[in-house]
Symmetry: C2
Subunit: 328 residues, 2 copies
């Protein structure tokens, strides 16, 4: 029938990273989502209670992109006791003109980490103060690393502080990222300490209770909330959502169900005031309009981003002849 290109993590790290073309590819999807161009069905979910696991499937068709990615994410939370990581999955890419399977991407989560980091950069580009130099991160895992590095694509970051529930992880993060990025990254003694003096706060934890409350806000702060992507998760209090001058999200439908809008709406927040990031990018809704506003962007992650980054990875890998071709 043809051949399919199999790409593994090493191939994909070679193909795509923190480049301007990748950033532009991710930025371009948000107006398409918000305008309802293309087709992005709700996330498909399969529960596997016997193994404390779940499988989520995301996909989207976007006109003008060469591929349609179908991403299968597996979260099996008893895996560590078996010596396996909790999170896994893969992406399949189909030709957008013929539906023919083109590529299987065994990325070990790399493409998701990358596109999520790039989404944070897009949010900061449109919502953080133009003169932002200081970042704060909650959480010190892989995604916090991606978020901080991505910010350097769009703002002249000169220092950062990181808070983690386990202080030694913040210390490790600070050491590693100071060396990687060439500016001072320090562990924070508390969330307040991290946020104090930062123009950009990025939350990347799996918290199920608010970490950020209104007492921590200050004029000019932009918050990107990345962690919440499930009905049980939450990083910022409903009061913070209400107190912000502007609240935007990648997808109102998803944020209302899986993101920070869930508890905010339950607390009476007016959904009529919510805009999508794509509307801000398209210019139909203003982003930040002064240096004193408090802004929030909630990112739940979309199949459209997967289609964008996977299409680019497959195109570049094909041109470079990277990967293994399998005759089907």
């Amino acid at each position: 029938m043809g051949s399919i290109r199999v790409l593994v993590e090493g191939d994909l790290r070679q193909a795509v990273g923190f480049g301007q073309e990748e950033l532009a590819a991710i930025e371009a999807v948000y107006p398409l989502i918000s305008e309802g161009v293309g087709s992005m069905p709700p996330i498909m979910r399969v529960d596997v209670p016997e193994s404390n696991g779940e499988i989520d499937i995301k996909t989207a068709y976007l006109p003008g992109y060469s591929g349609i990615a179908v991403k299968v994410s597996a979260g099996f939370f008893d895996n560590p006791s078996k010596g396996l990581p909790s999170l896994g999955g893969l992406m399949m890419v189909f030709d957008a003109e013929t539906g023919v399977p083109r590529s299987a991407l065994f990325d070990n989560g790399y493409l998701t980490d990358l596109r999520t980091g790039l989404a944070g950069a897009v949010a900061a580009r449109y919502l953080a103060r133009a003169d932002s130099t200081s970042a704060a991160l909650l959480g010190a895992g892989a995604q916090a690393r991606y978020q901080l590095e991505a910010l350097t694509l769009v703002r002249s970051i000169e220092r950062a502080k990181v808070w983690a529930r386990q202080p030694h992880r913040a210390v490790e993060f600070a050491t590693e990222m100071t060396e990687r990025l060439g500016f001072a990254v320090e562990p924070a003694s508390s969330i307040e300490d991290a946020v104090d003096g930062a123009q950009i706060l990025v939350t990347t934890t799996p918290s199920t209770e608010p970490l950020v409350d209104t007492s921590m806000l200050h004029a000019g702060l932009h918050v990107t909330a990345v962690g919440s992507d499930a009905e049980t998760k939450q990083e910022i209090s409903p009061g913070v959502v209400s107190a912000a001058d502007r609240f935007v999200c990648d997808s109102i439908a998803q944020s209302s169900r899986l993101g920070e809008l869930r508890t905010a709406l339950a607390s009476g927040f007016d959904i009529g005031s919510v805009a999508e990031l794509g509307q801000v990018i398209a210019g139909t809704v203003p982003g930040r309009t002064s240096d004193t506003e408090v802004t929030i962007c909630d990112l739940t992650g979309t199949g459209a981003q997967d289609t964008a980054i996977a299409s680019l990875a497959v195109e570049r890998s094909a041109r470079a002849g990277v990967g293994t071709a399998i005759e089907t």
Copy 2:
């Protein structure tokens, strides 16, 4: 991270076919679906209007099965003008205990054809007269071939008639299947001619208007409706559904939306009288109770069947060392 087994159509034809174990694996899923055991989300669909295409995704977790299949089916209806088949896709199989990707199945639709054929056999086992010897088929494509061969697993079929919109295709079908199955298969001059004298009628067309009306029914007939799997399709008239002594389907949720129940319900048919095949298999609802009843089983196809056949195919291929292992 591990290795994944890539299986292509030839491997899969070697691994699974019309055997009793395959039949038992498919039969076993229906009671699980009907009892709500496991997890089978609604079909996920992505429309690709620019290419006259669509992608459908089915999946299911079933306790006791080693794998979870995620099937991506692509239908791109401008493909023939590009020298490509309209239908394509693949299945991915994940370990049901860890979520780890185990296998990529590039089956060119073989596993779907097989499990759909086997589903027809299960329907006939529980609903067709035990002494059925004569079958009628509407449609003369690949699925009609699978349906007829599958019937021979559960009934002593001695003759068959086939009707197709293009008569030459019925003639080709008759010649080929007579040779393959060793009994007389004849082309029918009309739908009436095909059904007359048959105890089992299987409809396998993509028709969007009813082909079977009440005038064609006779005492003792069982009808398995396989073709309708979309909001636009229909093979049997609402009157036929109402006239039957028993109407069952693989999934009430799917049949109401994509199958023969769609127009029947719109015409006032009482959903309260509808049972699922799994209830008949489990014995909680009677199947055929006399040789004169008219029975109908509507099959729309489920992710649970995909998980059942794919799990078996992957287990057998692993034991036999078939396929290509890719290090991920």
